[in-house]
Subunit: 301 residues, 2 copies
């Protein structure tokens, strides 16, 4: 019973991701005003934003909003803004001075496509535009202000994680596992937590619901990156659409670098259960969030 129940949730999760991904592509294409930009800057930014990807973060914004009975229209701007920030972070992380990646989502990275100067500037543009999209969104002004604050904090934390990941400087008085957790909670976890909280804000979540969404987002964020770490050592670049096997070569702080693969998998299971428990606190509205936790725990790309 339990296993077929979970299989249904994985199936429903796949459908949520597929439908949500299409909806987000539409939002990104429709709700950003590229018209006041020089053509080549708009082209570069659109290349960075419209290149596909899982769209997990904006899907989480939309799903968390509806989990607390909010309407999609209230969360659309926040979802768009969050994906702009995520895409900006990928564009800058891929730069030669940082991760120096040439492949992303199965295509050349933006600095390969448009040159390094344009990749830096288009990334900057995407970050600034994200806040403009929220400011002009449909939520009441006090909610928009909270969304801006939330997004600024999430972005700052993400940058801190990227600094730890690419430059180092981690505290030396904590264990290697705690060091990895610190990197992951910031580098990846911050924006996923932010996505869930922004969805809650858009949907007018109660303090209790917001606490559940925060727990859910924190568990999902850490789990997402552990799964990513595992895919980096088990999958080909062709399969996941970006370079793999790089983490170990660069001596990066990852879960498989400090824990056996079976222990990493156990941590994924633990975090999936934690996310599921948090989602259940939201009642029936939390079911789609459970499905997303199940499917993200077993993803293979």
């Amino acid at each position: 019973m339990e296993s077929s129940h979970t299989m249904n949730q994985v199936e429903d999760g796949h459908k949520l991701l597929a439908d949500g991904g299409e909806r987000v592509e539409q939002l990104l294409a429709e709700s950003i005003d590229w018209s006041r930009l020089p053509d080549h800057l708009a082209e570069a930014a659109q290349y960075g934003v419209l290149g596909g990807g899982k769209r997990l973060r904006p899907i989480l914004v939309l799903t968390c909003c509806s989990a607390v009975s909010g309407r999609e229209v209230d969360a659309a701007a926040a979802a768009t803004a969050l994906e702009l920030v995520h895409c900006f972070s990928l564009v800058h992380d891929d730069l030669p001075a940082l991760d120096d990646d040439e492949l992303r989502r199965g295509r050349p990275t933006l600095h390969v496509h448009s040159g390094e100067p344009m990749a830096i500037l288009a990334g900057d543009l995407m970050l600034a535009m994200a806040f403009g999209v929220i400011a002009t969104g449909p939520c009441p002004p006090n909610v928009r202000v909270s969304l801006v604050e939330e997004l600024a904090t999430g972005t700052s934390d993400m940058v801190a994680g990227q600094v730890y990941d690419t430059i180092g400087g981690l505290p030396v008085d904590i264990s290697p596992l705690d060091q990895v957790r610190l990197v992951h909670r910031n580098k990846t976890g911050a924006l996923i937590r932010t996505a869930c909280r922004m969805g809650g804000l858009c949907g007018g979540a109660s303090p209790e619901a917001m606490a559940a969404l925060t727990q859910y987002g924190e568990a999902m964020g850490l789990m997402f990156q552990i799964v990513d770490d595992l895919l980096d050592i088990t999958q080909s670049a062709d399969h996941v659409g970006k370079a793999t096997g790089k983490d170990a070569a660069l001596g990066k702080r990852t879960y498989p670098a400090v824990l056996a693969e079976s222990a990493c998998q156990a941590e994924v299971d633990r975090l999936r259960d934690k996310a599921t428990t948090a989602a259940k606190k939201l009642g029936d509205g939390g079911y789609p969030l459970q499905c997303l936790a199940e499917v993200m725990a077993v993803r293979t790309r």
Copy 2:
């Protein structure tokens, strides 16, 4: 009479800049929460933000707010945010892939000080933090939302100007002078116009006062960059605290590249008068803005 009157205004303008600069240093040191950041990221961002400079943009925010009878406390967050964006733009513009400058405000640029990865990431952080500072500021939520929108638009326009300046792609169906104007209005003018409009928003400016502040900001922004162009060909790097003589060497679009020096000077005078006329529309409250226009027209660094 006219000349001694103007000399008084230049003197008052110098005092406004000196006092305002001190006030802004204080605001930047006090009103940004660096505590949640890794030490080396906080150090790099502070190096980029606290390194002195004229602080014209935040001074304009404060002065435009008080010009429409607003209180300084209402404009402090907006002034801080705008200077964060300006400093972020300098950090990124100085990068090897862009202007490749090693000297700024008489000190090594941030990528020389902290390395290129940190300069990219600290710049990103400064931009995100700017919006967080506004979101948590003291103005009513609807004003904060307008400030975020204004800052996002100004930043996008500035990035567009930087693209034109360093990558090119200017429209070819306009004259060389119009091309330079397009670069300058975006690269430098956008944030100066934004500073004035944000000050007006903080001070609760009427639509008429906002229109005057916008005219003032547009004239000041273009004038500022023409004076910068002139200093680049007439002053030493030691004197202005950054590399000079580079524009011509790089074939950049500048005023002296398309107009004789005397014609550039005439354009400065015309824009100063335009700014002064706009400031006068604000009555007595506009006097400090007149003084700033006079002093910025004759600055030598």
